[in-house]
Amino acid sequence: MSEFVINTKNLTRDYGENRALDNVNLEIEKGRVVALLGPNGAGKTTFLRLLMGLIEPTEGESFILRSPSRNMAESVVSKIGYMGDTDEPPRWSTIRDLMKLQAAVSGDFDRDFFMRSVEKRELSVKRSYGSLSKGQKKWIRAGLVLAGKPAVLLLDEPAEGLDPSARQDLYDELRDYVTDKEATAIVATHIISDIERIADDAAVIDHGRLITYAELEDLREQVREIQMSEMEKVIDFPNEIEILGGKSSGGTKLLWVRCREQERQKLEKLLGQKATIRTVSLETFYLALTEHNSNKRDAELKEIKK
């Protein structure tokens, strides 16, 4: 446990009858950028709030730097950079006020870094927060968080509302920061194309459950798309091959599978000329995982495999 910066045990949270997060177990090592993926309402925000200790878990527990989320040590709280989706500075506070506030908490606040990021958007520190555009607000808040030099970053849709080039800037800054400081970050988003460049791992949450947690490099190596004619009868897949999803349209079947290299070679022999196996972008993989809920997916797969 000690080597993990973040870990959770059976983390669960109910809102009334609704289970927002269901039994999540996750261990994150130092120096990683984890993309927390999932459709809106999947439980990403609940997960981050629980980690930050803002809300009480219904069951289970979570730790950041070995300190329990709901009773965090002073030395740990000030090392977390958090950017949620509901928290916002008061409208009347100026950028300078916010800088001073953050500098009061974070021991060695990087003023130069913050000023550079303010100037990058051609803003003045005298501007009030309320007068900024949605994208500028996000930018300022992200700048505050990074300038505070946190060891752990918990970011909920940090790039939402930014234009594409600012989004890239933001994620590039984040990557540089994590590489330089050996920090650890969880970034919740539902847009995979933004984050996949800079993230190391993907944690996919759907309906409150953690359905995948893997290194992106492993996924790139292991996930494949199989395309074959609808007429083709498919042999039983070996058990080691995990079937993620499938789709059937216009006379062709598409199957997404995840397997190791040796199994893929077996699979290639098994399918021979009847099908093509090719690499798949993470976006396709993610859609295959979340597009259908699990029951529907199983039913469809049976249909396709028949």
Binding site: I55, K79, Y82, G84, W92, S93, A104, V105, P150
Partner: protein, 216 residues
């Protein structure tokens, strides 16, 4: 536990509307009232009550975006609590001190003498000197209690100490009402002790509850 000027500034700004309204209302009332003020004056009691509620409500909008922001900067909960209490003190003093000074300096009796030709003005200073302290006592009892109540309101699932606090406060209120009739010194003393216990209990209970507060 540190005093954070930048945090206090934001907290003070949150309660500023209450301060800005209470300050002129309090000052003008004290300047213009013709009768001799006693601590039984119902209008000033109401003033203290409403002002206290306003401060508690304005500094306790725990579901607002600003709170979520302040609570995720890296301050500990206790740190936030202490600064909140400190801001409460400042906000009260900002109103109370000018009002008290008007009585003490004595601006009030001068104004009453010159402007309203009040026959009471020679005795005003003497009779009213202790009255601001009673008001301050009112704030001291009410604010910790209201803060506590407001935190509980944001956190309906937790804590059972509310019943005890409520019981003590009922006893105090009854006690204060009974003070209207002249009672022996020991009874007064008992009420003072009870009030102190009550203030301490609300502050401690509030602080503990505040640690577990759910921020939306």
């Amino acid at each position: 536990m540190k005093i954070r000027i930048s945090l206090l500034k934001i907290l003070f700004r949150q309660t500023l509307p209450a301060t800005l309204i209470a300050l002129p209302v309090g000052c003008f009332y004290v300047l213009l009232t013709k009768q001799v003020l006693s601590w039984r004056n119902p209008w000033m009691a109401l003033f203290v009550l409403v002002h206290s509620i306003a401060i508690a409500v304005m500094s306790g909008r725990y579901r607002s975006k600003t709170f979520a922001f302040l609570y995720t900067r890296g301050f500990t909960r206790d740190e936030l609590w202490c600064n909140k209490m400190l801001n409460t003190t400042f906000s009260v003093l900002t109103v109370w001190l000018p009002v008290a000074l008007i009585i003490w300096l004595p601006i009030r009796s001068a104004v009453q003498d010159k402007l309203f030709v009040s026959p009471y003005f020679p005795i005003m200073m003497m009779r009213e000197a202790s009255v601001p302290w009673v008001w301050l006592g009112g704030y001291a009892i009410l604010l910790p209690l209201f803060h506590y109540v407001w935190i509980r309101r944001a956190q309906p699932l937790r804590g059972g100490s509310g019943v005890i606090l409520l019981a003590i406060s009922v006893v105090i209120v009854i006690g204060i009402l009974m003070l209207f009739r002249r009672h022996p010194l020991w009874f007064r003393f008992l009420i003072y002790v009870l009030s102190t216990v009550m203030i301490a209990a609300s502050l401690i209970a509030g602080r503990i509850l505040h640690r577990n507060l759910e921020v939306q």
